[in-house]
Every structure is written in structure tokens, then in C-alpha cells.
Symmetry: C2
Subunit: 152 residues, 2 copies
């Protein structure tokens, strides 16, 4: 075990791989749309799965409610989404992409897909499948249970 190296430490390797692979796309949507990563994630959820409340985004995306709250505020300020109070429970608001939000989403969605295809082209189909399987397992994304969000 004296050969154990940072390259052999999977959490490290994952972190570097995540940073490297995210950098380009992140810079792209930041420069072009002034979006931060959490904003992009929230935005993606609304675009891909339709209108929902902040709470639903928290559960689905496993993002803490304070981050979602700030991302929603930023996206609303950019006129990418609107909030509408739910009559049957006035604590909640339905979030929905605006027309221009939809437009931007279509572009970002397509670009993300393209980017992904390009980056995966380095690998065989079998490698892609195994990589995906391992990552989903490590990320614990195959478990349907939403993570507890609150402090404590």
C-alpha cells in the first residue's frame, strides 16, 4: 500500500474530473447569461420538468433551500421566471419559466447535450455505461429517497 497516490484516491479524482469537465460549460453560461451554477441547475429543472415550487426543486435536485431561494431570486431578476402564489397554500409559489426563459433554456439544453456528447466521444459505449453506472451509484442517485434538507 505504499504506492497509494492522489490519483488512486477516488474522491480526489472525482473532484478534479468534475472541476475540469465543468469549467468550460460553466464559463459559457456564466459569460453568456450571467448564471451561477445553482441558477443553472434550478433553471434546468424548471425547463426540463415544467413549473414547480421551490420546495419541489429542493427535493428533486437536492439543493439546500437557501441556495434555491437565492437562485430563484436571481433568475426572477433576470426575467427568466415568474412566481405565482398558490391559492390553496399561500406559503408556496409556483415557479414558471417566462417566454425568454424558455428560449434561453432551449439553447442551453441543446448546448449541454452537445457538450456531453462531445466529451463522451472519447470513450467506448461500454465505458460510458460503466462510468455512468458507477457515478450514479457513488452519487447515491439511484436511491429515490429525498435527502433531509433542514438544519439539524
Amino acid at each position: 500500500m505504499t504506492d497509494f497516490d492522489l490519483k488512486d484516491f477516488t474522491p480526489y479524482l472525482l473532484t478534479i474530473a468534475a472541476e475540469t469537465s465543468s469549467a468550460v460549460f460553466q464559463a459559457y453560461y456564466k459569460d453568456r447569461y450571467g448564471m451561477l451554477r445553482t441558477e443553472w441547475r434550478v433553471f434546468f429543472h424548471l425547463g426540463r420538468y415544467g413549473p414547480m415550487t421551490a420546495k419541489e426543486i429542493c427535493d428533486r435536485a437536492r439543493i439546500h433551500k437557501t441556495k434555491v431561494s437565492r437562485a430563484v431570486a436571481a433568475l426572477a431578476a433576470k426575467r427568466y421566471l415568474t412566481r405565482k402564489e398558490l391559492p390553496e397554500d399561500r406559503r408556496q409559489e409556483i415557479l414558471r419559466l417566462t417566454k425568454s426563459g424558455e428560449l434561453v433554456f432551449k439553447e442551453l439544453y441543446r448546448d449541454a447535450a452537445d457538450f456531453n456528447v462531445q466529451m463522451m466521444a472519447d470513450f467506448t459505449v461500454q465505458e460510458q455505461m460503466i462510468l455512468r453506472k458507477c457515478l450514479i451509484k457513488i452519487a447515491d442517485l439511484d436511491a429515490p429517497e429525498p435527502a433531509p434538507t433542514d438544519t439539524g
Copy 2:
């Protein structure tokens, strides 16, 4: 391509996998030794590859010099390393783990290795190999690196 999902976006998947897999170990060395992640990385480099300058750590570990500078200061404050000015270039300092630094390193090193074995036990040998290969490729870590100084 209408089925493209966040789970299919590899940079996202990598980020979540990295966060999930890092969380436990990170909490461990933070609680036990008060180390931040950059500190742990710098520390690991010095322990694993022997004394070197901050610049060398920057290059090897691909960490920005401001982060390395602060990590080194923190590690020095904890008496885990010493700095010695290089006579032939007085801008540079050789960083070297202290006795107690070495001791802590041995423990952290062993625990990291154990942690890694445990986490990889979910996968077959073939899966482990492919995962590693893909991650190294994505992280661009197969690019030529400076050779290890075999002091460690």
C-alpha cells in the same frame, strides 16, 4: 434527444459524485485535525512526495497559488510543516513536514487508503479500472507530470 436529463449530463454527475464521496472523509479530517480541503491536499503532497516549494505544489496539484499560500500558512500555524528559505533563490521556501506532521500524515494516509478500498468495494475490478481510466482522462491527468522526488 428529448430524454436528456441532468443525470445524463456528465459534468453534473461528476460534481454530485465528487461531493457525495468527499463529504464523509472531509468531515473526518476537519473534525479531527481542523484541516480544510486545500490544506489536506497540500499536506498530502508533502507527505507523499517529500519536501518541495509552494510553486511545485501549485504545478503538481493544480491549485492556485493564493490557495496554496493560505493552506501553507494554516499548516505552519498548526506546526505540521516548516519553511526554509532557499539560499540560491530567496523568493522560494522549501516546505517540509515536521515530526508531528509526519505522524498525522501516516494516519490520514492510511485512513484515506482504507476509505478508498471501502468505497470501491461496491464495484467489480473491471468497473474500477474503467472508472479510473475515464476519470483520469476527463481530469486530463494522464498528461505528463513532473516526476516524483523519491524522498517519500
